[in-house]
Symmetry: C2
Amino acid sequence: MRTNRPKISDVARVAGVSTATVSRVLSNPDLVSSDTREAVQEAIRATGYRLNLAARNLRHRRTGSIVALVPNLANPFFSEILSGIAAVLGEAGYNLLVADTCRTSAQALIDYAEPGRADGLIALDGRLPAEELKGKVPVVVACEWIPGLAAPRVKIDNRAAAGLAIDHLVALGHRRIGHVSGPRGNVLTEARIAGTQDALAAQGLLLAPADLHIGDFSLSSGREAAVTWLAQPAATRPTAMFFASDPMACGFIGEVQRHGLKVPEDVSVVGFDDIELVAHMSPPLTTIRQPRHDIGRLAAERLLARLKGETAMDDTLLPVDLVVRGSTAAPAA
Amino acid sequence: MRTNRPKISDVARVAGVSTATVSRVLSNPDLVSSDTREAVQEAIRATGYRLNLAARNLRHRRTGSIVALVPNLANPFFSEILSGIAAVLGEAGYNLLVADTCRTSAQALIDYAEPGRADGLIALDGRLPAEELKGKVPVVVACEWIPGLAAPRVKIDNRAAAGLAIDHLVALGHRRIGHVSGPRGNVLTEARIAGTQDALAAQGLLLAPADLHIGDFSLSSGREAAVTWLAQPAATRPTAMFFASDPMACGFIGEVQRHGLKVPEDVSVVGFDDIELVAHMSPPLTTIRQPRHDIGRLAAERLLARLKGETAMDDTLLPVDLVVRGSTAAPAA
DNA sequence: ACCGTTCATGCAAACGATTACATTGTGCAG
DNA sequence: CTGCACAATGTAATCGTTTGCATGAACGGT
């Protein structure tokens, strides 16, 4: 570490003023006369001075960073949300700290919520312990939510989104529709299962227990669902499947095609998320589009507003679209 | 901001010792007798004391964070590298700061390299200005590299990787092979074009100017390459295409299929990166696998080693594999 | 009984900025 | 000419830790 980095007192000496004046030039230029201001700025240039953020933060009792807790950094779904968060925070002069909740110890995660570590926290993971987050830095939850935690939430209406998918399939003529969910215990999983059941019920249909597969959002769990589905007699298995994530839908389609069946002729498929690639597969995937970048942006904006004193705790619900592409069609006669 | 957060002096008062002793319990427990140590720990518990990192960092003249500069956070390719970086840094007790180079002003990016902001920097973007990074925090470059910057690099052998792809296609019997590259000015672009040309030359073949498409790694640029390719007379256009990224290969395949042609029957396709989804498309994509997670891990480890005093600046080259799947076959007779 | 070690602890000065308060100088009204 | 308001600057305390140095107690060897 260079020990010779110029500090504010060096600038002060060169400019022939006190450190207070230099500091004022830096953070409140109007308070100093234009003559001195220019002399100080010249001295800053001459010395190559750069502000030490740690010192400023200590004095201001803030850190200038926001931490985002992400369930899985490698998942493109989350990275696009992060991108939205980063855009807003960068503009506002905040640093973005990220931590992968699946690779970090529980204690370390809670420590991120300590003031002194970050000024605020955006949780993209609903499985964080509500109790441990109370009384620490302001929190906003995006996508998922944390039961029992009083924090603004930015998300979509998952039940309604599932309804869109089911209604589309029913309108095409499907009567037996299966669902591949996320892992048990995930709040999205429950909301989307409930939405599926509701929408089916509204049409006088039922989600048979055998047609509900518990997955984990990953490609391979979609493939496993395909194996089970393929093992059922063709006459009685669902003619359409609704997946709680696009990767699962892709895994399913890949496996089904490998067995010589065709999508959508032999089975219709609806995904969830609309990640970029699925529009270019064959068949292109019908799916529910989530405005991921906006979710990130809004979550960051809500958090910044809270840091400025806003106290509203209400949820923000973003609209979703059903994007109809080639993976859905009327069932075979 | 709670003003009543207990500080080290509160703990000291409760425990009946000096602040120095409390500090030693925290960072160097062996220096204090077990009696006092326990008293202090009890006082810490009683007061609910939590260390203020900003203060410690100020004193230690370090920040405890590493910043990663990513060209595009939303790109799954980078997010998996980030995941590797996060894994290593988290374990070592460092924070991971991320910034999106395409959404951040040039000055702001350079500021990240200031000591006081972060202790080190991992650049995933080769277009950062080498001059501006000199004399600041230690840097490691991953995937890409920055010409003129003396920093360890962690990457793959891009020329050799391109060679693997070309050799595979030639071995299948292809004689006219096209290449869709990344954007001009990107170091990977040049290396992969050179590798393609070298490998073709070694087989007595040539990359015709008309068969080199300049893309930008995105899906849509792959689709544009398909439009151009489709417009060429079927008899004389390339029978195989090598892409500098998987998304471009997907965009190409999607467009070609939409026009009723088949992969690999009508054209063989090789991608680059092996992102997770492409194994499940139809046809599954033949591609070059990059060990993304390992690239991230190694880059982080190299940086930590530099922070501990290691001075070696040599490059780390990671092995790549050709993953042969269904998108390549012998050309039609 | 004396003295040099060693061990445990305290005192106070850093780390590098910000800012409440004090001080000085200037202009202007009375 | 006096006094007051205000603008520009300086002085020094502060943010919460860490750590070099000093101190004093305990101990063992002679």
